[in-house]
């Protein structure tokens, strides 16, 4: 199984978590993901996901002027619904991770 298949459902939860830490924009989000070691995520793949999350009302966006001038930059922040979804993701993740770890440990 490739990492992208495993990641599919998890990435949304990770984006929620990153955005929950404070208002941020696309390139910064991918930088933070990479800092946590998610280098298997291709940079562009967060945008379709962010589009969907906004459609579902999990995040809102605002355009802000850059201090350096030039075009505006799009910032994401979490909505109340997004916060709830993040909590639900954490619970589900703990449950799944717990089971998987327990199972894999027995193998060794």
């Amino acid at each position: 199984m490739s990492s992208s298949q495993i990641l599919k459902g998890i990435l949304e939860g990770c984006l929620l978590s990153i955005i929950a830490k404070g208002e941020t924009y696309g390139y910064e989000i991918i930088g933070k993901l990479y800092n946590y070691g998610f280098t298997m995520v291709s940079e562009g793949s967060i945008y379709p996901l962010l589009l969907r999350m906004r459609k579902e009302g999990l995040v809102t966006t605002s355009q802000k002027n850059l201090p350096s001038g030039g075009p505006k930059r799009k910032y994401y922040s979490l909505t109340a619904k997004g916060r709830k979804e993040l909590e639900a993701f954490k619970e589900r993740w703990d449950e799944i991770a717990g089971c998987v770890n327990k199972l894999l440990e027995e193998e060794g």
């Binding site: 291709s42 940079e43 793949s45 589009l51 969907r52 075009p71 799009k74």
Partner: protein, 246 residues
């Protein structure tokens, strides 16, 4: 903000792909702007477009398009206005030449040709934008799309003359009404669109013809004059527009 040529081309292709897929213009501008911002930052860090989209352009464009809703409302506004514009254009030309005579086939055929061409254009734009094809193939596709309405019109005219003799004729009063109506529609579209194009282009196409017809020149000279005047006017207008854009 400057990005590499490859990135700029990708953004332009993406715009075309999403427009041809009937997505909302504002949403398209938003995602295009966001990706441009990303590409700019990424290129500063020494990455290129392939690192960012991670798959073929086509797959990536499709993925984005899947998350954007079909702009039905926008299309609902756009199609009737364009049809109206096209009909006024045809009516005006016919009325000025005093050839307002239509068969049932015309009445069905014109809208059909229009919608078919629109559909064909959207499909080919999407194909050209999302596939890496040679310039020759690209030109060939645009050439086929461009000549389709002409070929269809010719086929309709032929069919009309041979199989459908029933025509609806319009008298002088009808001609005048058609001209006035067409002018009103051109003005209406220009106001709606906040652009002079829909007044300037018909004016270039029709005004010289009308003015030259008024002179006492020979028929041949009239035709040649009209033939020279129209392309020259269009060229001058295009140059002015390009100047302004810069």
């Amino acid at each position: 903000m400057s990005i590499s040529k490859e990135s700029r081309e990708f953004i332009e292709d993406l715009r075309l792909y999403l427009i041809s897929s009937g997505k909302n213009e504002k949403e398209i501008e938003e995602i295009a702007g966001e990706l441009e911002d990303h590409l700019y930052e990424a290129e500063k860090d020494g990455k290129d477009i392939n690192d960012i989209i991670g798959k073929t352009p086509r797959e990536y464009m499709e993925q984005l398009a899947n998350e954007m809703s079909f702009d039905f409302k926008g299309l609902l506004k756009f199609i009737p206005v364009t049809i109206l514009g096209a009909i006024s254009y045809i009516l005006m030309g016919d009325a000025l030449r005093g050839e307002m005579e239509y068969s049932l086939l015309d009445l069905i055929g014109y809208p059909f040709i229009f919608l078919f061409t629109l559909f064909l254009s959207a499909t080919s734009f999407k194909y050209v934008a999302s596939n890496e094809i040679s310039k020759t193939k690209e030109w060939l596709i645009f050439w086929i799309v461009g000549s389709t309405p002409t070929v269809l019109f010719l086929a309709f005219i032929y069919w009309n003359e041979n199989y459908d003799p029933v025509t609806y004729q319009v008298g002088t009063v009808g001609n005048v009404i058609a001209i006035v109506l067409s002018i009103l529609i051109f003005i209406g579209i220009s106001i709606w669109n906040k652009s002079w194009v829909f007044i300037i282009i018909p004016a270039i196409l029709f005004l010289p013809q009308v003015l030259i017809e008024q002179t006492s020149l020979e028929e041949n000279t009239k035709v040649i004059l009209t033939g020279i005047f129209i392309p020259v006017c269009i060229m001058v207008y295009s140059l002015i527009v390009i100047r302004r854009e810069k």
